[in-house]
């Protein structure tokens, strides 16, 4: 049980850690000051959520590691993040499309986790879900504005959707860990969330004049750690450099 719970908490924490770092890469270079600070806020929300998930994961593991050790001293194959969140930022439109696809899932997942049988998970979810709802409101508005904007912005958003779509399906893939969590009343049935997720994204993409790709082919291997994309290792090299080069540095 505790091995599966540890694995499950790593998935939650690694998603927010990897996406939080990705979003933070926009700090200082976003297309407008207002978007820059909004993305930085979002990144900080995710890192805050990461601290809670990974701190709990470290307690469950009970091997003397803490949240920082889990974040900065694991290599690619030990990460349990979805393939979607490690995809590169690309242009602003791709970043916001990735954000929107994840935010819609995150709100549904966290809303379910508020009722988790694990009190600690329920508390973290209750705190995080309000942030996630705001992220979704923001990414939804931006996806519509850019999709239903100029010919060029529409073209870029459709391209972003087409590129990211095959990575979205992994969010709803159920494996043994998910099944064990669901049976224990700790986590939701991910497969059942897919219908609600489509109900959120479909009308938004329609308003944004975008077409949902027909194929439901989904790349897998991120949340199991079996096959991350080549992007995650490069990201970790940047993210983990300082604590690896200067172990236990304080400031």
């Amino acid at each position: 049980m505790s091995a599966a719970l540890f694995e499950y908490l790593l998935r939650l924490g690694d998603n927010t850690l990897v996406l939080g770092h990705r979003v933070s890469e926009w700090c200082g270079v976003a297309p407008a000051l207002e978007e820059d600070i909004a993305l930085a806020n979002t990144a900080l929300d995710f890192i805050g959520q990461t601290q809670m998930w990974l701190a709990y994961a470290a307690e469950v593991e009970d091997k003397g590691r803490d949240a920082d050790a889990l974040a900065f001293r694991r290599d690619v194959w030990d990460f349990r993040s979805l393939l979607l969140v490690e995809q590169t930022n690309g242009d602003f439109g791709k970043t916001l499309m990735r954000q929107f696809l994840f935010d819609a899932f995150n709100v549904l997942n966290l809303t379910a986790l508020v009722g988790s049988a694990d009190v600690r998970i329920a508390e973290i979810a209750a705190k995080s879900v309000k942030e996630a709802q705001y992220h979704l409101e923001r990414s939804r508005e931006t996806v519509i504005a850019l999709g239903d904007g100029t010919q060029e912005s529409n073209r870029r958003m459709q391209k972003a959707l087409d590129v990211l779509w095959p990575f979205a399906g992994e969010m709803f893939v159920v494996d043994a860990v998910d099944t064990e969590m669901q049976k224990a009343g700790i986590g939701p049935d991910l497969a059942a969330l897919r219908g609600e997720w489509v109900a959120i994204i479909q009308p938004v993409l329609t308003s944004a004049m975008l077409t949902l790709p027909e194929s439901d082919f989904a790349h897998k291997g991120g949340k199991t750690g079996v096959r991350h994309s080549e992007h995650l290792g490069h990201m970790l090299a940047t993210m983990q450099f300082l604590p690896r080069a200067y172990p236990d540095a304080q400031w």
Binding site: A32, L33, E34, I37, A38, N41, R138, E141, T142, A145
Partner: protein, 97 residues
């Protein structure tokens, strides 16, 4: 400033703090429409828990007095001390007025 027409319009932002005070002007920002202006105001001006309510108004809709008019507008009231309610003692527990 390549092409001004491509810039988002300017919005003035008013935030109401948590102490039952009125909305106060806190600054301005750019946004494509009213909804985004409120979201941007939330991100730019309420990061440190400054507010419970946000108003935004497009800057072009604000009428402003001209600095040239400051003589006729303000100077006549300089010499009218009898308009100040200095004859009343305000009890401390009234609080901010």
């Amino acid at each position: 400033m390549s092409d001004l027409k491509k810039e988002w319009p300017l919005w003035e932002v008013f935030i109401r703090g948590q102490h039952g005070m009125s909305h106060r002007h806190v600054g301005s920002l750019h946004a494509s429409d009213e909804e985004m202006a409120i979201l941007n105001a939330r991100d730019v001006y309420t990061r440190r828990n400054e507010g419970v309510s946000i108003w935004v108004v497009e800057a072009k809709h604000i009428g402003a007095s001209s600095p040239d008019q400051k003589g006729p507008l303000y100077e006549p009231s300089n010499s009218k001390v009898y308009r100040h309610p200095t004859f009343f003692d305000i009890p401390d527990d009234v609080g901010a007025m």
